[in-house]
């Protein structure tokens, strides 16, 4: 049974669905989740040039988005968190390499039929390389500190 697209896409959909009720293209700017894929998807907000900065985690939009959207995306600073090199990490302003789930860190990933698979760690990650959940929680911690919350 394969996984979808870039990696744990089904897992992302599942988590966003139980947290907000919607699988993707959720706009939080109004204080409650807004889901309208012709208006709130990343393609739409990029085409309307409403994006200040893009945080790209474990995916490669530069290689897969329509050309026009890719151009707009390259106009804003990109922060890429990825275990591997990709076209997105090539053009990103900041690249944070992450440990590989299932090899260097444990975790869960969802198959494309929504079955969660336990991932086990078999190797130590290279020195200083963190799991993506650790990177994100450290970013969140710092954002909270800077905003004084």
């Amino acid at each position: 049974m394969p996984m979808r697209g870039h990696y744990n896409v089904t897992g992302f959909n599942e988590v966003l669905t139980w947290e907000t009720g919607f699988p993707y293209a959720v706009d939080f700017s109004r204080g409650c989740p807004k889901y309208n894929p012709s208006e709130t998807s990343v393609i739409d907000v990029l085409l309307r040039e409403e994006v200040d900065v893009a945080l790209v985690i474990a995916s490669d939009p530069i290689a897969h988005f329509p050309k026009e959207v890719t151009k707009r995306l390259m106009n804003v600073p990109i922060v890429a968190i990825n275990a591997y090199e990709s076209l997105t990490t090539e053009v990103a302003s900041i690249v944070i390499p992450a440990a590989i789930a299932g090899i260097e860190v444990d975790g869960t990933a969802y198959r494309m039929d929504h079955v969660p698979i336990r991932l086990r760690k078999i190797l130590e990650p290279p020195e200083g390389i963190l799991p993506d959940r650790e990177i994100l929680s450290r970013i969140l911690e710092n954002v909270r500190r800077l905003k004084g919350k």
Binding site: N13, E14, V15, T17, W18, E19, T20, G21, F22, P23, F28, R30, G31, C32, P33, K34, Y35, T108, Y110, H114, V115, P116, R118
Partner: protein, 437 residues
């Protein structure tokens, strides 16, 4: 945790200690209720509960709040999310959902109603990880999940061969591996038969290939439950659920475990069988035309047999999303209303489905269903043998518990189930309560 807490001036209800609405102050020290003299009111945090009820936290023993089924419901019903959007506040996270609320919203809504423990009653072993991830994201309330074993291939084979020791070892491992709280059977044998394009007709109809009957599955798992001395009994969602005339199968399911000797470690449990959402299992007649209530037959049996408990599965009129690990039932529902549906088989373990459904106040079937739930609750004499449940969201949204007993009889506006009418009603109500100056 707050070390010292004093709840003052509330009306206290505590059935175990026979306190029935008296004004009593409650002192709590390190999470335990103590004599009021044991704490210093000056140091304690005081909550003024004047004109409020103080009661033990509610337990919903059957509510589909987490896991594959409800998440599929959220996923395929974005229109349901748009019915209720919950903004974030300084203490709450945002969310959405009317019949299939998101996890945070579920926790908040139950907490507002006074519930502190929720049980997710359908966890396929293969999807246990998903269920627990969602339970971790359900705030405030305590949670448990029941492992589906009634259609499990390995269980069926062991029981057929009479290898109870091995089956018990397998069930014990399964409960530990999936962090399950009790053994759940959903349409025992029937969901497996559905994978063979059929269903079991009654308790003695053998499952294709496995050649084991639903009665043997129920009895076998009840015996294993007692071999393992589990704290709770098996939970059974009966065969032919939601089909007119199924009350005989329900009583047969009770009978299947009649001579199973109860042995729980704590020694408090008397019952060996729990039948969930009994309202759906108490149908008489042989078609929807002569459909009738058989709540009296079910209640009579329960009153005479202390080893049985049930929960109501009370219908609340209005829109909802049905979801269960009973594939053929969901197919029947879909054949009735032709709304979008999901049907899934989960490898060697179970299967399930989802269909949106509207309980209509003008439908005689739905009205009788509403009455069956109440009849069951009122006719059973021992209150500890019947639990309040709506099988959320199957028979109704849990957040509308308070409306369980009032909706049908209200003589107010006949509110139809469309969102537009609902909005109009809200506006009208505001106008009545807050007249313009």
């Amino acid at each position: 945790m707050i070390k010292l807490l004093l709840i003052k001036n509330g009306y206290v209800y505590d059935p175990l200690n026979e306190i029935d609405g008296e004004k009593v102050d409650i002192a709590i020290k390190n999470g335990k209720i103590v004599e009021e003299s044991q704490i210093n009111p000056l140091e304690a945090k005081v909550i003024d509960a004047t004109n409020k009820i103080v009661m033990p936290g509610g337990i919903d023993i059957h509510t589909h709040i987490c896991g594959y089924a409800i998440n599929a419901g959220r996923l395929y019903r974005p229109e349901d999310g748009h019915l209720r959007l919950e903004p974030r506040t300084h203490i709450r996270r945002s969310g959405s959902g009317y019949t299939v609320p998101s996890t945070f919203v579920t926790g908040y809504r139950y907490a507002i109603m006074g519930y502190t423990t929720l049980c997710e009653p359908a966890m396929p072993p293969l999807l246990a990880r998903h269920t627990h991830e969602e339970l971790n994201d359900t705030p405030i309330v305590d949670t448990a999940a029941f492992t589906l074993l009634g259609n499990n291939w390995i269980v069926a084979q062991y029981l057929k061969r009479g290898e109870y020791e091995r089956c018990a070892a397998f069930v014990a491992w399964m409960l530990r591996a999936t962090k399950g709280y009790c053994i759940k059977l959903v349409n025992p044998g029937g969901t497996e038969a559905w994978a063979w394009r059929s269903n079991v007709k009654d308790l003695n109809d053998p499952v294709p290939y496995f050649d084991i009957t639903p009665a043997e599955l129920i009895r076998g798992l009840a015996i294993i439950n007692e071999m393992l001395k589990l704290p709770h009994s098996i939970h059974v969602h009966t065969n032919q659920l939601g089909v007119p005339g199924n009350f005989e199968i329900t009583i047969g399911s009770f009978d299947a475990t009649k001579d199973v000797k109860v042995s729980s470690i704590r020694g408090k449990r008397k019952q060996s069988t729990h039948v969930t959402h009994a309202q759906f299992s108490a149908f008489g007649g042989d078609s929807w035309k002569n459909f009738e209530t058989k709540a009296d037959a079910i209640a009579k049996y329960v009153n005479n047999h202390p080893y049985v408990t049930i929960d109501m599965g009370q219908v609340i009129p209005g829109e909802t999303t049905t979801m269960t690990a009973d594939g053929p039932l969901e197919y029947n529902l879909h054949s009735l209303n032709h709304l979008k549906w999901i049907n899934q088989g989960i490898e060697l373990e179970t299967g399930g489905g989802l269909v949106p459904f509207t309980y209509s106040r003008v439908s005689h079937v739905n009205s009788i269903q509403w009455a069956i739930g109440l009849e069951i609750a009122l006719l059973i004499e021992d209150p500890f043998q019947v639990y309040l449940s709506t099988d959320h969201p199957n028979a109704g949204r849990a957040r509308d518990f308070y409306a369980t007993f009032s909706r049908f009889n209200s003589n107010g506006f006949s509110v139809r189930n469309s969102i537009f009418c609902r909005c109009a009603w809200m506006k009208l109500r505001k106008r009545i309560w807050h007249p313009c100056p």
